[in-house]
Point group: C2
Chain length 337, copies 2
Amino acid sequence: MGSSTIRDVAKRAGVGLGTVSRVLNGSPMVSPATRQRVMQVIAELNFIPNPSARRLSLGKTLTIAVIVPFFTRPAMIERLRGIEHSLVESEYDLIIYNVETVQRRDECLHELPRGERADGVMVVSLSPRDADIPQLLCASAPVVLIDANHPSLTALSRVIVDDVQGGCMATQHLIELGHERIGYVSDWLENPFNFTSSRDRYKGYYQAMQNAGLEINPQYHGQSDHSRSEARRLAAEMLALPERPTAIFAASDTQAMGVLEAARSMRLRVPEDLSVIGYDDIEIAEYLGLTTIRQLLYESGQRGVELLLRALGESSLEPVFEVMPTELVVRKTTAAR
Amino acid sequence: MGSSTIRDVAKRAGVGLGTVSRVLNGSPMVSPATRQRVMQVIAELNFIPNPSARRLSLGKTLTIAVIVPFFTRPAMIERLRGIEHSLVESEYDLIIYNVETVQRRDECLHELPRGERADGVMVVSLSPRDADIPQLLCASAPVVLIDANHPSLTALSRVIVDDVQGGCMATQHLIELGHERIGYVSDWLENPFNFTSSRDRYKGYYQAMQNAGLEINPQYHGQSDHSRSEARRLAAEMLALPERPTAIFAASDTQAMGVLEAARSMRLRVPEDLSVIGYDDIEIAEYLGLTTIRQLLYESGQRGVELLLRALGESSLEPVFEVMPTELVVRKTTAAR
DNA sequence: CTGTTAGCGCCTTCAT
DNA sequence: ATGAAGGCGCTAACAG
């Protein structure tokens, strides 16, 4: 039972192991008759080639690594879903490297592109810092960035979303509704992981406010860890201000939920007393009737895989830089004031 | 650049490769001086031993496989989170085999326990059918079942939750609140994946109803695919009945959300006009104020890893069978009628 | 303590 | 078209 080898098959079929290997790999250089017989034996023995041996011999790992921070967050899951679905039919195994500490982040970013653990690497939502550039550029495995970027990485394929524009769009929506005191609730703009989305969305917020000639009140920006409860706390503080904002833009739908909670606990009606807009359009957003900025999470993962597989095929391919569209989805948490 | 080998290190350090291997594996049979020197060179060359070669030589894959259906569902994610967190410090890679078709299910259940892809296997929420038993019993890799079971598998460690009891508890809660017309909205009780949870919860529902001497009206049981929208549809139908139920037990929190939607769209107030109870206590449940049955999702994953690692250590260990506790969490969607 | 050697199972030339 | 042999990089058992 315990795992027969290619040798057993060869012996039993009365052929050399080279032949077995050939039928295994679909080489045309084998007569239909022997192929038949070998396949027969393979079935009888219930033989499956040992992946470790295969990998060593091939000099390929036949696996794709995806480096993703906090993989259980809804937006990450959605990207992962796109990745998984696009990869399941391929010959590649998928290993998810979940990053929840900077140390782990550095380990992954350092080791994985070397290509000894994976033939290709996808980096999700972790923008490299300057120090990471060298490893990434001399990587022996193709690397594609999803929702991550760096000016020096024009050599890598990247699928990004314009968060500045998204933030701008969100804020503008509120402005068009007549809001002037607009808050922004986010996670830390500067953070050890170098997450850039909240920072970029803030830039968009800032731009939109300026364009509209509105005052940017620092008290209307709260930042803390990324969580519903922290967002709730920040929103509650902001809403307790003498002149509270009439609208809040949250850096993610999860955080928007925190804002909604704060409003609820302070007996503020949404959207009558407070407009709330989120970001991402995760599944729950629709249920909640949350107005938000939709980004193509699933599709970004899908696209990333496409690009990676393409790079794995013909390595001398031009890297592509794609900006995925972003869309305002108006639901029931925003209204004119 | 391109991956130096143990041989390069040996040469550069002026030692044999055996020695390098020894320091790599922390063997004590190396003098401090040479160890120092070798480590030095390893650092200089930025050397990392090739995992594929290591695995082949060791005869171990150094990876754990987890077979899980529809991995993006909140309850699955929560279990995976427990698994991932418990495994990240270990020497094992984690590969998630997402199952969304019966075919894939069979492939995974057939191949993975052979041990050529993984040293250990965790099966989540997929109860084996009779046909799977042989493979599982003669598996060369230890297998642990989480939220899955089969009477013939006493040889495997299993971490389960008593869904019959949970379903009973949920229904009883509604009964105690004075409800008599109690609906059950679920996914298919009989299904190709052999998911048992909704079936077992139904059994609990049935028991509780009978114990209370309440009529079990087939019209009060709706089944369809597992999704919020389908649950919504089922609930809407049920609530359109001349004698509509005054309370609905949903087989999962996700489905409970569908029920809430149905109620909302029919202008039924929850809990005044309709009580709703879910199952799982996923994160969103708290936000929604959903009354539900909590099961220890994260912990089940954690515990599964513990058991698997233990089995990987000393293989001749008694399998354990653990029933995780279940708990009624009363929030705001259930009330006396 | 340390260098050398023999595999691990498979793929891939190279002859035949 | 097929069999034989060498090697992928590493570990472990063996001499020294």
